[in-house]
């Protein structure tokens, strides 16, 4: 190898060592932040000793706890991403150092880290089914635990110590890191067997390690009431879904197998390694990055959903509308694009919350695009609590929070919605119970303090967001019902049901919109006049005018002069009907191609062409 070539190797790996993590950090922080926020919202970490001790009950509990500790920093996505990347970089660098990977192929050290990144970033909708606390960083921390185990075992040089260490470290490691603890001792055993000269030593190490590996899980399984499909796999990603776990766990298992086999490969002893041309190293790096990125889950609707849900969680209604608008505009050229129902209902909610529904509700493309996933996630599981709370159905909000808790454990988002529901109900003790938990968190204690201030002042509560727009919606009589896991249909039924005896202006506005959405003319007229009476608008909003004009023309012609209709509405109706008579009945996709944008943004278009939507 010439000095020039040597410099090239060093140059590429040295640059890669900071360019790759930096790039990843930028991508995660700028483009994947909604996903990172979702990871954080669906987890929970509190600084509490009793809570910590709960984790020690189960193998890999301590690693789970540590993982949750780090995950809480995803609340600030760039910070969380930075921590994760530092852990990954540490994993890659330690792999390189510990297994003496030559400079000429040091890119190989990045493969396990890339697999770990790929595993997380390819989750997509699976994140709604993960049933493992700290799942996101657990494999990364597990990987580091394995490296630590190997390092500790390398310090041992006599037979007695290795037997004792195997027993102590093996059992402790299993309790701390579960599956990764076992992989740790296994890797250490392979490493010892390869590197130690004494046959007795190698044999002792192997026997004791195998004994520990076999005994720890059996011991655990036999002495506790936890269910483990297999004591050996505790700590591996677990999903509450009926698909093959092996497929989902494969990337993590692959990363671990690489580690176990690393001591066997003995790269420095391979002659061709040192002769590898520098461009191979470059190609390898590009291949690793490209392959990893290829497997990332990048569905734009999914990202838009995450952004909109996050915006709704934080009462950033304009942000939710803008997200929907952005993706609609970007997808203008792609005529097959449709939003998912979650996007549509969140957009509608945001419009209501900002008082824009009368002028904007039908200004966006509608649709019911299927989620791009092998495992459909029900709308209720994703946004049941948001809809329940903000549409003034606290029982529904509570239902989905509790279902979520039962299935996946408590999360930050669940605590927040449970608190808001308890506040709406005026249940002081329950609110306090949940607030106490958030008091012990790093990023929600401020919010908790703010809520506690409202708890003691019902009048202030009624003036403060989001309660100022929730309490007026509780004007209806309670009913005992079931959403049958169909959220949209439940909301339709709720707002198209009997009118409350003393409805409020906000309730009437929402009920009117739902009457329009359900295309029920009788219900529309009922709601329309209630809306006029309670809201007494100076000017009737555009879409209410359009609906009234359409329904009046379709049968209630005597009502055409009952209220003012803008000339613009009349002209648009005329223009729309000309197009409609030209094209006749069309599918939603064809109609999107045929009608100009200004006509697609009308209630007329919604009434005649937005059909066959699959509601959830």
């Amino acid at each position: 190898m010439t000095p020039k070539e040597k410099n090239n190797f060093t140059g590429i790996t040295a640059k890669a060592r900071w360019i790759l993590p930096l790039t990843l950090w930028v991508v995660l922080s700028c483009f994947s932040y909604p996903f990172l926020l979702k990871v954080e919202e669906r987890s929970f970490f509190e600084f509490d000793m009793a809570w910590f001790i709960e984790f020690l009950d189960k193998p890999s509990g301590l690693l789970s706890w540590l993982s949750l500790f780090f995950i809480q920093f995803f609340h600030i996505p760039w910070l969380g991403a930075l921590i994760w990347i530092l852990l990954l970089t540490a994993a890659a660098e330690l792999t390189r150092i510990m297994f003496r990977i030559p400079q000429s192929c040091s890119a190989l050290a990045y493969i396990p880290a890339a697999i770990l990144v790929t595993y997380n970033m390819s989750l997509g909708y699976m994140i709604y089914y993960v049933n493992l606390p700290g799942f996101f960083l657990l494999p990364t921390l597990g990987y580091l635990w394995v490296l630590l185990t190997v390092a500790v075992f390398r310090k041992v040089s006599n037979t007695a110590t290795v037997i004792i260490l195997s027993a102590v470290w093996g059992i402790a490691g299993y309790y701390i890191a579960g599956f990764y603890g076992l992989i740790g001792v296994l890797t250490a055993a392979v490493d010892t067997a390869v590197s130690q000269r004494s046959r007795t030593f190698r044999l002792s190490a192997l026997i004791s390690v195998i004994a520990v590996t076999l005994l720890s899980p059996i011991l655990f399984v036999e002495t506790t009431a936890y269910y483990l499909p297999s004591g050996w796999t505790v700590g591996l990603p677990d999903y509450m879904i009926r698909v093959s776990l092996t497929r989902i766990q494969a990337p993590v298992i692959a990363a671990m197998l690489l580690l176990v086999s690393a001591p066997l490969i003995q790269l420095p002893k391979l002659s061709f390694v040192n002769k590898t041309p520098s461009y191979v190293q470059g190609i390898l790096l590009i291949a690793i990055v490209s392959l990893s990125y290829t497997w990332w889950y990048k569905d734009p609707n999914y990202m838009a959903e995450l952004k909109m849900i996050h915006a709704a969680d934080n009462l950033e209604w304009e942000e939710a509308i803008n997200t929907f608008r952005d993706i609609s505009e970007k997808s203008e050229k792609d005529k097959s694009w449709q939003p998912t129902r979650i996007m549509v209902v969140l957009k509608d909610l945001a419009l209501i919350k900002t008082g824009q529904e009368g002028d904007q509700a039908f200004a966006f493309d509608d649709g019911c695009k299927q989620q791009n996933t092998i495992c459909g996630v029900s709308m209720s599981m994703q946004i049941g609590w948001i809809m329940g709370l903000h549409y003034g159905i606290p029982g529904l909000c509570q239902r989905w929070c509790y279902e979520e808790n039962m299935l996946f454990g408590w999360s930050n988002v669940s605590y927040r919605y449970n608190i808001m529901t308890a506040m709406v109900f005026g249940n002081r003790e329950l609110t306090e119970k949940y607030l106490n938990k958030l008091d012990h968190t790093l990023f929600y204690r401020k919010w908790s303090r703010e809520q506690r201030a409202l708890l003691n002042d019902r009048e202030l509560l009624a003036r403060t967001a989001p309660y100022d727009q929730i309490l007026p919606l509780l004007c209806y009589d309670d009913i005992v019902t079931s959403d049958l896991a169909g959220l949209e249909m439940f909301l339709n039924r709720h707002f198209n049901g009997p009118s409350p005896m003393e409805s409020t202006p906000l309730y009437d506005r929402i009920a009117l919109l739902f009457a329009m959405k359900s295309k029920n003319s009788t219900m529309f007229w009922t709601r329309f006049f209630l809306y006029l009476e309670s809201n007494n608008p100076k000017k009737i909003d555009r879409y209410y005018q359009e609906a009234a004009y359409l329904y009046a023309n379709n049968g209630q012609k005597d009502l055409l002069d009952a209220f003012p209709i803008d000339d613009r509405v009349k002209d648009t109706y005329k223009s729309f009907m000309q197009y409609a008579s030209k094209y006749g009945k069309l599918s939603l996709e064809d109609a999107r191609n045929c009608f100009p944008k200004h006509l697609r943004e009308t209630f007329f278009y919604y009434y005649y062409y937005v059909n066959e939507l699959i509601l959830f």
Partner: protein, 495 residues
């Protein structure tokens, strides 16, 4: 040596100085606020320490427990009483508890409160732990707590059976005559069946027959013979949209059945299609079965159409009794015992005391599932005098529901949501010979804040004299490997 002596003396002074009560402190004129509220209660002599936290804000705290002629002093805001000391305290009889608080102006003595020490209680309490939920049930355990200390163990967890193929609900654990020699509980859905532990053997039974409407649900072991009376129910649950009560459960159909363990058969006790019969419970002599029933007519007044349930508020249960000859297995006629429906109320879950004198039930406005209704209260009947009264010493503004007698009939455990309206907690109370009941108190926990932090509800607290004899692992392996055995239906009088 001299140095050592001084050090030793200093340590002695330090410790004795810190644990000595400030006996000359002036009386404050009020009681310390403590959590949980263990003031003025009657406790069993063998109960676990009543650890509590002093809620008042002060610089320092000392709590003195006086019983007999001895005093035990505990320092600190969290009053955590070591078990051995607690045993010594309770062994000397009634206790006077005095809290001292140090404020800016020095120590003050809070008004002392008494704790009366009464008869022993059964040492074990078994309950199901469940997070509040509606339809999902993925984290359920049946646990047994040794209530003479803080040890708790899981009897069975539903997560012990494979989740990928389906989840299972576990419920209705029950013992015969407070002995764990016999035990039963149900598993619903995945690997479902009624698990029966008897004579050291496990059995898994399918008590749904062609002639009965569903599997067995609420059990009552016959005290002297080999029978279990069950209700069999088709139950639905719905949510409230805008009410502090989260949900409502109601039966669309329900009957009573008798499982005869001797010949392994099921027969019908009551199956009137215009009645919803439920919650059977034997009297201690086994010659009378109490149960509740709601007359619903035909068709039923409630429907669950399009998700919304209507008419369920009109379903009101009354209390009935039915005589039974256990030897010949013959039934007498059903008699109305308490016409709750006529009072626009609904009565459920009858439980007769072991001496046969007292009968306690839940009462509310409608329905068969009282924990979900905050207005549910306990009502007590004196079966000797034929009188009844609401148990105001126990009832709160939240639901009081599932209750169970101790074997000596002096202790009652009942479920209540008084703390926050959502999480059910077991409370204990003492029944005096004259039928008066003492102030209830929560099951003592090691951590005074336990109840605040614990996110599970306690369901179906049931006393037993001894620990459960079968391990969770054995139960799990049996449940996973055994098919439920079908049980034949026989007519009331036999095959």
């Amino acid at each position: 040596m001299r140095k050592l002596f001084f050090c030793f003396t200093a340590i002695i002074i330090l410790f004795t100085g810190c644990t000595r009560e400030p006996s000359d402190a002036p009386l404050s004129g009020r009681q310390a606020v403590i959590y949980p509220d263990f003031t003025d209660i009657t406790i069993p002599s063998n109960i676990a320490p009543v650890n509590f936290r002093i809620q008042d804000t002060a610089d320092k705290y000392i709590t003195v427990f006086e019983s007999g002629d001895t005093k035990t002093v505990i320092r600190g805001r969290d009053v955590l009483i070591p078990l051995r000391k607690w045993r010594a305290i309770t062994s000397r009889g009634n206790i006077k508890v005095t809290v001292f608080e140090k404020h800016e102006n020095g120590w003050i003595r809070m008004n002392p409160f008494p704790i009366t020490v009464a008869e022993d209680i059964d040492s074990y309490l078994t309950y199901r732990l469940i997070m509040p939920s509606f339809q999902t049930f993925d984290r359920l355990t049946i646990n047994q707590r040794n209530i003479t200390n803080f040890k708790e163990k899981t009897i069975y967890a539903n997560t012990m059976s494979s989740r990928d193929d389906g989840s299972q609900c576990i419920n209705c654990h029950s013992f015969r005559n407070w002995s764990t020699e016999t035990m039963q509980f149900h598993i619903r859905q995945y690997l479902g069946g009624t698990i029966l532990y008897r004579n050291g053997k496990l059995a898994k039974l399918n008590l749904k027959t062609d002639s009965t409407i569903a599997a067995a649900v609420y059990p009552s072991w016959h005290p002297t013979h080999e029978y279990i009376a069950y209700s069999t129910n088709k139950t639905f649950q719905n949510i409230h949209t805008n009410h502090t009560d989260r949900m409502e459960a109601f039966d669309q159909e329900s009957d009573l059945i008798l499982f005869n363990m001797k010949d392994n058969s099921v027969s019908v006790i009551e199956n009137d299609s215009t009645e919803l019969e439920c919650h059977p419970y034997w009297t201690p002599d086994g010659k009378t079965l109490f149960y509740v029933s709601a007359h619903i007519g035909n068709p039923t007044p409630f429907q669950a159409k399009g998700g919304a349930a209507t008419g369920n508020a009109s379903v009101k249960y009354s209390l009935y009794s039915k005589s039974f000859d256990p030897d010949s297995r013959t039934w007498g006629k059903s008699k109305m015992f308490f016409d709750a429906a006529a009072l626009d109320s609904s009565i459920t879950w009858p439980r007769v005391s072991p001496d046969g004198r007292w009968l306690i039930c839940c009462i509310n406005t409608h329905g068969v599932f009282p924990p979900y209704q905050s207005e549910t209260e306990l009502i007590m009947f004196d079966l000797e005098k034929g009188t009844h009264r609401y148990v105001d010493e126990i009832n709160s503004d939240k639901s009081e529901s599932y209750h169970s007698w101790s074997s000596n009939g002096h202790w009652l455990v009942f479920s209540t949501r008084r703390e926050d309206g959502v999480y059910t907690r077991p409370y204990l109370t003492h029944l005096n010979d004259d039928g008066s009941i003492t102030k209830p108190f929560p099951l003592p926990q090691k951590d005074p804040d336990f109840s605040v932090n614990f996110m599970y509800s306690f369901n179906i607290p049931e006393f037993s004299k001894d620990p459960i004899r079968v391990s969770a692992r054995k139960l799990s392996s049996f449940i996973n490997s055994t098919e439920a055995e079908s049980v034949p239906y026989v007519s009331k009088r036999g095959k």
